[in-house]
Symmetry: C2
Subunit: 168 residues, 2 copies
Amino acid sequence: MDLQESKQKFIDTWGSLGSEWGINKSVAQVQALLLVSSTPLSTDDIMDTLTISRGNANMSLRQLLDYGIIYKKVLAGDRKEYFVAEKDVWKWAVRIAMMRKQKEIDPVMNVLKELKEETKKIKTPEGKEFNKTVDDIHLFTEQMSNLADKIFTSNRGELLLKLLKIVM
Amino acid sequence: MDLQESKQKFIDTWGSLGSEWGINKSVAQVQALLLVSSTPLSTDDIMDTLTISRGNANMSLRQLLDYGIIYKKVLAGDRKEYFVAEKDVWKWAVRIAMMRKQKEIDPVMNVLKELKEETKKIKTPEGKEFNKTVDDIHLFTEQMSNLADKIFTSNRGELLLKLLKIVM
DNA sequence: TTAAACTTTCAATACTTTTTGAAAGTTCAG
DNA sequence: CTGAACTTTCAAAAAGTATTGAAAGTTTAA
């Protein structure tokens, strides 16, 4: 397996992992391509390498820029836009996790809280039971959510080392 | 909003959350229904309540049984199979996480390891750069994976409290 | 052993998401 | 200004996933 094949395998693997975690395959592949490219790439480079359409390349790039895990790079004497990947794994892992938590977990937490309040007043056994179920899930989710927030805002080495030490 | 509406809202919310995390909507809804039901339910009960087909109900139940987050329950004097949900949130959260890690993360780790070895020998600057990228990602993933394993095998209160204390 | 009661399977169909690419929009050097 | 170079949009098409339900399979009481 030569370098090109290795890079291709990395891109493909990253693409499948993305799909399984609800991240669009093309988006994941574009990030992977930029991660393993030793030079900044233009939209056309990406289209050609991954054989995807202009629209797809553009949308994938925009989403990665939104996530803040790739950057635009201006090359002197060239009007084209080039892109490079954030190489610090911790940095982009945290950004993706924050984004998804906000978009997916927080709304669920709000519904849970609402249902908890709504059903607090119900005095039937069935109502009490439902209230307890919702309450348990809400409490658990809240603890996890707090933990996640703390981890997101701390910096890598420090916290991760502490965690590993405790847990080993 | 009465109890029935509340339960319905819970089921719907759970279904959407599931979808976003790559868990089949019906599967998530069946778990939610069993979680909020005060009595064991049969396949037909589930079909009727969620208005899904027999095949779908059956496959969803089987998957949840595989995950170990619902149980079969035999009701005396009845040939039908009934199902109840595991109510301990920590227990099923851990089971789902373990399952997904095993199925999705572990294979990726293997590919990363393989690519790391493959490219170790390449002496060009481009090869070295790729090797470093893969190595960084592999190391990070490995640390996270170890942490996850430790958390999975410890029990809730004990560890979570320690984590929270450190992090607060 | 039978047949009724129940569970499982799977090919066909419906639904959702992703991708395409032509057209519209923007920017900037001359 | 102008038009060439580049970026963005979006409706239509393709690809991917989930769901259905009839048929096949299994179990059990009598």
